[in-house]
């Protein structure tokens, strides 16, 4: 698993989408099934809109969760997005 560069722009691959918000669980629907998103994972994926760079996504999350440690937010977001990329669910331009 290679590190994600902060100036790259991630977005969901074709055929991968979030289930509607407010349901019983947060799911990322993909060709083989669904990935369950826990905690802030949905908020992180929602920011992968093909416009924001990874650096911008991280700052946005740090603003949304002001009480959490900024370094921890960064580590968690990068780890989640790298996993999704390696799974073929996220494209990085």
């Amino acid at each position: 698993m290679s590190e994600l560069e902060r100036n790259r722009v991630p977005r969901l691959a074709p055929g991968c989408r979030l289930n509607p918000a407010g349901g019983a669980e947060d799911l990322l629907l993909i060709p083989e099934g669904a990935l369950r998103l826990k905690g802030p994972a949905r908020a992180i994926v929602e920011l992968c809109d093909g416009q924001r760079t990874l650096a911008e996504i991280i700052s946005e999350l740090q603003r949304t969760y002001p009480t959490a440690q900024p370094a921890r937010i960064e580590t968690e977001a990068v780890a989640l997005l790298a996993r999704l990329r390696d799974r073929g669910v996220l494209e990085v331009a």
Binding site: A13, P14, C16, R17, P31, D86, G88
Partner: protein, 359 residues
């Protein structure tokens, strides 16, 4: 719900322009005049979504044979289902594909019979390979997930490396390499389709190497022929555990092949609501828990993992749907499978039989 259904397999028609020697549809197919209406299917999709089903597999036959497919896809998206279109590509063109994408199809799975045109057309019983290549070309340009499915067996498994390279060239992001499973028409042609042990071992190495080489580029799923397995497959992840199939005429089945099991009454979605079918119907409850299990399954550590294997296969091979799946090396009747493998690994090379389309 104790068992939460996750996927609805909608076999919307049995009509198909292909005549594959390993077709998984039942040997008795539903006619066009028996098919559910558009409104019937839309109601089924809505009920499925209300039950928490996420994935819809639109399959057949060839689902494109239904002229209302775009409408069905639109209804599935409106019901918030994720729709997978499982197709041979026959009946598709750029205009129809654009309509389907606009209607919300999420994922297209295009099947190929081989990397080479001659054998591909021979296995399909039709000249369909060139058309499939053109369809891959247009699908890859659309914003939709794209999987290529290649069916493998004795007569093409030796070309697996070439077939993987072929799949790379189609632009798909996922590749399913599926060994034929021996149900429906495929069972009739089993001796001509089952690979030899040597072929199988070689193919496993080929896939491992390809996965390494194509990491991050093409995701490969590989379905092995369970006749060679040590333990049975967790068929459908358990009978009535996660998946529900509706056939073209509305009959609800726990899996594609369940119709072969005698003594089961398959409820029809025209007459019963989906929730009753799933929760209450005797058929969906028949093999759901562990009470039906014989020994050695009943006391086996693996029973919650593979559920005693496949009920349909148990019936097809032993005549008893409540027997341990005989592919399991622990099964009392495993010798049935051993004898088949002995024949297959011997010198015989039988011919196969083509099927014809329903009226």
């Amino acid at each position: 719900m104790k068992y939460q259904p996750r996927a609805l397999i909608a076999e919307i028609t049995h009509r198909c322009p292909l005549h594959c020697v390993y077709c998984s549809n039942p040997t008795e197919m539903r006619r066009r005049s028996d098919e559910l209406s558009t409104a019937d299917w839309i109601s089924i999709f809505q009920q499925a979504a209300e039950m928490g089903i996420l994935q819809l597999h639109l399959t057949g036959g060839e689902p494109l044979a239904r002229t209302d497919l775009t409408e069905l896809v639109r209804a599935a998206r409106a019901a918030q289902l994720y729709s997978n279109l499982i197709t041979s590509g026959a009946g598709l063109d750029g205009g129809r594909l654009d309509e389907l994408v606009a209607a919300g199809v999420d994922h297209i799975q295009l099947s190929f019979q081989d990397s080479q045109e001659g054998p591909a057309n021979e296995f399909a019983g039709t000249r369909s390979h060139a058309l499939k290549l053109r369809m891959a070309e247009i699908i890859r340009r659309r914003p939709v997930a794209f999987t290529v499915n290649m069916v493998v067996h004795r007569r093409n498994l030796d070309r697996l490396e070439e077939m993987i390279a072929f799949a790379e060239g189609t632009g798909a992001r996922r590749l399913e390499i599926a060994n034929v499973q021996y149900y429906g028409w495929a069972l009739r042609n089993r001796e001509g389709l089952l690979p030899t042990r040597e072929q199988l071992e070689h193919s496993i190495q080929v896939v491992e190497a390809a996965r390494e080489r194509l990491k991050g580029k093409l995701r490969i799923e590989f379905v092995l022929p369970d006749y060679y397995a040590k333990y049975p497959k967790p068929c459908m992840n358990g009978w009535g555990h996660q998946q529900l199939l509706i056939d073209p005429s509305g009959r609800a089945l726990p899996c594609h092949a369940a119709m072969v099991i005698p003594g089961l009454d398959f409820p029809n979605a025209r007459e019963r609501d989906l929730r009753w079918i799933w929760e209450e119907s005797p058929t969906f409850n028949r093999f759901r828990d562990e009470s039906w299990m014989p020994e050695p399954c009943r006391s086996c550590d693996r029973r919650a993992r593979d559920f005693g294997g496949c009920r349909c296969q148990a019936f097809l091979l032993t005549g008893d749907a409540a027997a341990t799946d005989p592919v399991c090396t622990l099964a009392p009747q495993h010798s049935i499978v051993e004898e088949i493998l002995e024949r297959v690994n011997g010198s015989a090379r039988p011919d196969w039989v083509y099927r014809i389309d329903p009226a």
